[in-house]
Amino acid sequence: MTDIKPANPLEMVAYNLSLQIEDHKVVYVGTGLPMVAAILARKTHAPNITLVYESGAQDPLEGGMPWSVGGPFTWRKSPMILEMSYSFGQAYNGYVDIGFLGFAQIDMYGNINTHMIGIDLMKPKVRLTGSGGNNDLSSLSEKMVLVGLQSPDKFVPKVDFITSVGFLTGGDSRKKAGLLGQGPVAVVTNAGVYDFEPESKRMRVKTLNPGVAVGLAQLATGFELLKPDGEIPVTPVPSAEVLGILRNEVDPLRVFTSMPGA
């Protein structure tokens, strides 16, 4: 192996998302980096996982990257396709191990906004997509991993709209609200990987990407990040072999893993 280009920030995100997936589990995915991550996991450390989608698609044969959750890529030769209501029912009934959620804004308790930027839903600055399956997965899945790019306007003290509950106001407020599952177990960004402190349920630095100092991560965050005791480990970096699989087999057209403008 000669001079393979190091992982770009999106490839780092995809790789670290893939590490959240254990073998033999059922993974609920949408399009984008979570799908890249799930397929990478299957081609590396977790060959026996099953992918399911909100379109109802179950366990498709893998191939190129899908452009839409409804497109044939997500149900290619699927043994069956469920209706949408039943698809989320799988998460309620305990057949989904892990789900991935994106966000436009996130707060220190892992609450997510995909509805709007502004203060009035009737007259926002920007109207975003709305929930889609985001709220359903956050309410029902056993574990969820949150994924997005990190900046102070995305990592905010208070989200403009709670589309999906992470840990609500911390402590046991998620459970008291009546929601299922463990809540968010990790946040994966271009700066590092975060978890949630077990008592307060506040976001905590777990690992930082190479070259990212804790001060920089804090600068990219609109609330105070908790820091673990001792030295903060460096986020795992994909080996040349894994990068090769990612680039040549998982997303060869670089649909999701090329940097904008690159």
Binding site: G70, S85, H115, P124, G130, S139, L180
Partner: protein, 366 residues
């Protein structure tokens, strides 16, 4: 006095004073009454698209989006709704992405939202502008799953279901229809959300094949359409092919909509174009990209785009000619089969030129 007890905080947040606008979606009695009054006989229901839309889609209807944004979605029927200048429509759907252009051209002006956008292409600027400018009024916010539960409850024939979704979220504060309650089966505190059965006025469902009575066969993800066919007061089936009743009887795998629910059957080849029709044709990515990245930028752009693609087309065949005609058909059929590993194109290159480079016209909108 209204028969319905809406969530008052949501009414306040949504600034809804007159709640009658909300009633029909949950008015089971009127839906049942409409269903009872239909001619239930097994009869030939074939109509042209123009006649079906003229007769069964009414101003002010609650219209549900079907399929999945641009997969097996009756795009050409929606375009006919625009051409017939229907108005005051409430749009609902999970997803509800096609409301965007329905609002841009004044057909729809109320939104029941679970999702409106273009997935990896991000949020829809035309829809965002419509909300900000007040061209559409949001009547309720949902998640995919809870809206799907509302439709499914209607199909199950029950007043509603209890859900564990939405709890703790702001969606509850912007949905007049749902209520947090104590689970009546439990002695310990167990909050649940009551989701009422949802009854849209009209569902247009595009399928691969139907018989003349309306028995409809589907291939690919059904999403919410089986529930919607049972729930909606009126149902139009548009089909790639009308097959003899004997074909439906002997190949009943995938027959998911019973004729009793159906009011009109329209033979409509390419009825999902420029979206994707499983087994038949692949979506025109360049058309969608240009819609999302150029047309949605301003009302002037979308006017120009739809003038060319919708208002100056009399039917779907005009549209297909503009996409590239027989060459587009051959290419899109090849792509959709390749995507399903159903031809010899294993490893087929799905890369394509973005719409920006279409000055070097190939004559086909891949």
């Amino acid at each position: 006095m209204s028969a319905f007890d809406y969530n008052k905080e949501a009414l306040k947040n949504l600034k809804i004073d007159d709640t009658r606008i909300l009633d029909r979606l949950v008015d089971f009695e009127s839906a049942r009454s409409v269903h009872l009054k239909k001619d239930h006989s097994r009869r030939d229901k074939r109509l042209s698209l123009k006649d079906a839309i003229a007769e069964f889609v009414k101003d002010g209807d609650v219209l549900t989006d079907t399929g999945f944004s641009y997969v097996r979605t009756p795009m050409q029927a929606y375009f006919e709704i625009l051409r017939q200048k229907k108005k005051n429509i409430q749009m609902i759907g999970s997803p509800n992405s096609n409301q965007s252009y329905m609002i841009s051209f004044g057909a729809a002006c109320y939104s029941h939202n679970s999702y409106s956008g273009a997935e990896m292409r991000g949020y829809d600027r035309a829809y965002s502008r419509a909300v900000i400018e007040g061209k559409t009024r949001i009547l309720s916010e949902w998640s995919h799953g809870t809206m799907a539960q509302g439709f499914k409850a209607a199909q199950l024939g029950v007043p509603g279901v209890f859900s564990k979704q939405l709890l703790g979220s702001d969606i509850l504060r912007y949905n007049p229809y749902v209520k947090v309650m104590q689970n009546p089966m439990r002695t310990d505190p167990d909050p649940v959300v009551f989701v009422p059965a949802l009854y849209p006025d009209i569902a247009i469902i595009h399928v691969q094949a139907a018989d003349r009575f309306g028995n409809a066969r589907m291939y690919g993800p059904p999403i919410n359409d089986i529930a919607l066919a049972a729930a909606a007061r009126r149902v139009i089936i548009t089909a790639e092919e009308i097959v003899p009743p004997g074909d439906i009887r002997s190949n009943n795998k995938g027959v998911v909509i019973p004729f009793t629910a159906v009011d009109a059957v329209v033979e409509l080849p390419f009825g999902a174009a420029p979206g994707s029709m499983p087994g038949y044709y692949y979506w025109s990515r360049q058309w969608w990209e240009k819609l999302m990245r150029w047309a949605c930028q301003s009302q002037a752009n979308i006017n120009e785009y739809f003038e060319y693609w919708v208002f100056s087309c009399k039917d779907q065949f005009d549209f297909i000619e503009k996409l590239g005609g027989a060459k587009w058909i051959a290419s899109s059929r090849r792509l959709t089969k390749a995507e399903e590993y159903d031809n010899e194109d294993l490893g087929f290159d799905f890369s394509y030129k973005e719409f920006k480079t279409l000055e070097t016209e190939t004559g086909i909108y891949y």
